[in-house]
Amino acid sequence: MTVLEARSLSKTFTRDGLWRKGQAKRAVNGVSFTLAKGKTLAVVGESGSGKSTLARLLMRLLVADEGDVLLHGESITSLRGAALRRKRRHIQMVFQDPFASLNPRMTIGNTVAEGLRVHQAQLNRAQRNEKVAEVLQQCGMDADAMPRYPHQFSGGQRQRIGIARALVVQPDVLVLDEPVSALDVSVQAQILNLLRQLQQDHGLAYVFISHDLSVVRHIADDMLVMFAGHVLETGSAKNVLLNPKHPYTTALLDAMPIAHPSLRDNSADEIAVDPEQTADHGCPFRLRCDTAEGDCAHADMHLNNAGHACLHPIVSPL
């Protein structure tokens, strides 16, 4: 059952300079996907690939220039005011930085209860507190955290609080923007386990934004590989990671940290690449691509039926 769908989403930003009109940057370019109940879609790519803009479009914190976001089959793009607020209860966000995303002057109880005040205003204080305590407990926190402030908690605990804040209104979809990147590896494992447990218990669907492919492999069912706002490859996470077709996906895989010192590659490339270097016509990745040929500059690039957008895909050794 599809809970969230994106249809050809695009967003362009224009940054005006002090003296002149700035250049337009297409941050998200024709992105489509569907996400089913209980499933996880990972969105991967370098900084500047449009991952976070996509997240904000899905949350409708930004309005798309083109395309549509459907929640339970209903478009949220044109909703306003109370209708938008009602719909928004179903999709909640968890942010990367557990230090910046909690208000330092609000108690944990008030932070988590805020969503309830908006979405379930009929509840009285005792009922609210009961719900907050319950959701904190589901996230591995004691109810005695409620009168305390964010600075009294570690990064991992704060991220649990951030997840509790998102869950308290019983959403169907969580958009998680790099939820474990700022955490120590031992804490990261705890949070990933918590997310999996919550998904099993509540049938939550996740949009999981990450640059860490080992985390993605662990948690995702499907994935989108983004570069300069375009989806360059998509499919099941297993397929994309074990059998990548797009040279950019392979480049990301090659950049992963190694698991053992015996895997050191002393011939690794150390020359600087400009991450901003993208082509404005043809394949956006071709300036950084080892296998690019003349036709990559001319062809109109889009995802094909095999789930990749490359004229010269990698042929698997099998």
């Binding site: 031992s186 640059h211 080992s214 990301l252 010192p261 015996s262 020359i271 600087a272 991450p275």
Partner: protein, 328 residues
């Protein structure tokens, strides 16, 4: 002036440091000893709050201005204590003999000076050269860290550059005086994955080419696997295990080291749940007398309640602060 000291080794000897918490000093680094040798990379590994950055900063006597108190022990360059150095000797030592590469390339450069001005400043502070020579050396350094248009770059300001570019400039600045030792504190953590690998390759090539000794502070075992020759694992202010990198990856003996390595999600394995370490790292001041990991350890028993020596388990150069090292 650069030959006052012997440069062969940089040693931390039984160092203890305290940090101010709630108005009083609490020990945060306990009796840490480390020996850095020319041509080798030592990884100092641990989670946030274990004292690894404090230890690294003590190598340059940084941190004193942030209220870190030096309680006991010493830092020795070629046998000479850096705590006995005069201000001018210390200025020469920092950057001249031991250079530091910080984690955050966005804040470590001064936004109001050009790249060229910042690199030539370092060169002229430490080497007796004129402006022209310093400029030439700066351009050569930028080439050496993989920057193609070095002379154009000299006139640019840091905010025009990406994180990876800035980190390369900081590496160039650290290498400017050809120091014998480099302290790198999470040098790739703030960078994009595709940039990380290239910076690692660059650092490793420069370190080997100049046969520098390096202390690499990190929480990332992937980076340890890529770069280190030796590893010291820290937990709650103490070194709990030390060995060569292959020993650590093949036969880690301390339960904490093993637990830390096991909770990494590995590519190609889709497990339902990851192994985790129960409980939390104790805060400074709450370490207790015995093994500091005991409360979280599956092997803990009565023996773990008394102080454990750093070499409680040992085999050659492999040491583990654990009485149950054989059970691992």
């Amino acid at each position: 002036m650069s030959h006052t000291f012997s440069h062969e080794s940089l040693e931390i000897s039984h160092l203890s440091l305290a940090v101010p918490i709630g108005g009083q000093y609490v020990e945060a680094v306990s009796d840490v000893s480390l020996l850095l040798n020319a041509g080798r990379v030592m990884g100092l590994v641990g989670e946030s709050g274990c004292g690894k950055s404090l230890t690294a900063q003590a190598l340059l006597r940084l941190g004193e201005h942030q209220g870190v108190k030096h309680c006991a022990g010493d830092v020795l360059l070629g046998g000479k204590s850096i705590f006995a150095m005069s201000e001018s000797q210390l200025r020469h030592f920092r950057g001249g003999q031991v250079a530091m590469i910080f984690q955050e390339p966005m804040t470590a450069l001064n936004p109001v000076f050009t790249v060229g001005a910042q690199i030539t400043e370092v060169i002229r502070l430490h080497l007796d050269v004129n402006k022209q020579t310093a400029k030439k050396r700066a351009i050569a350094l930028l080439h050496d860290v993989g920057m193609a248009e070095a002379s154009v770059l000299m006139g640019q300001y840091p905010d025009a550059l990406s994180g990876g570019m800035r980190q390369r400039i900081l590496i160039a600045m650290a290498m400017a005086t050809n120091p014998r030792f480099i302290v790198a504190d999470e040098p790739t953590t703030a960078l994009d994955v595709s940039v990380q690998k290239r910076i690692i390759a660059l650092l490793r090539r420069l370190q080997q080419q100049h046969q520098q000794g390096m202390l690499l502070v990190t929480h990332d075992f992937g980076l340890v696997a890529e770069m280190c020759d030796d590893v010291a694992v820290m937990y709650a202010g103490q070194i709990v295990e030390r060995a060569t990198v292959h020993e650590i990856f093949n036969h880690a003996r301390h339960p904490y080291t093993r637990a830390l390595m096991d909770c990494r999600p590995e590519i190609g394995v889709r497990g339902d749940m990851l192994p985790v370490i129960a409980g939390q790292v104790p805060a400074p001041g709450q370490y207790g007398a015995g093994c500091r990991f005991a409360k979280r350890c599956a092997f803990a028993d009565d023996q773990c309640a008394s102080p454990i020596a750093e070499n409680a388990w040992h085999d050659g150069t492999h040491h583990a602060r654990c009485v149950h090292g054989d059970q691992q």
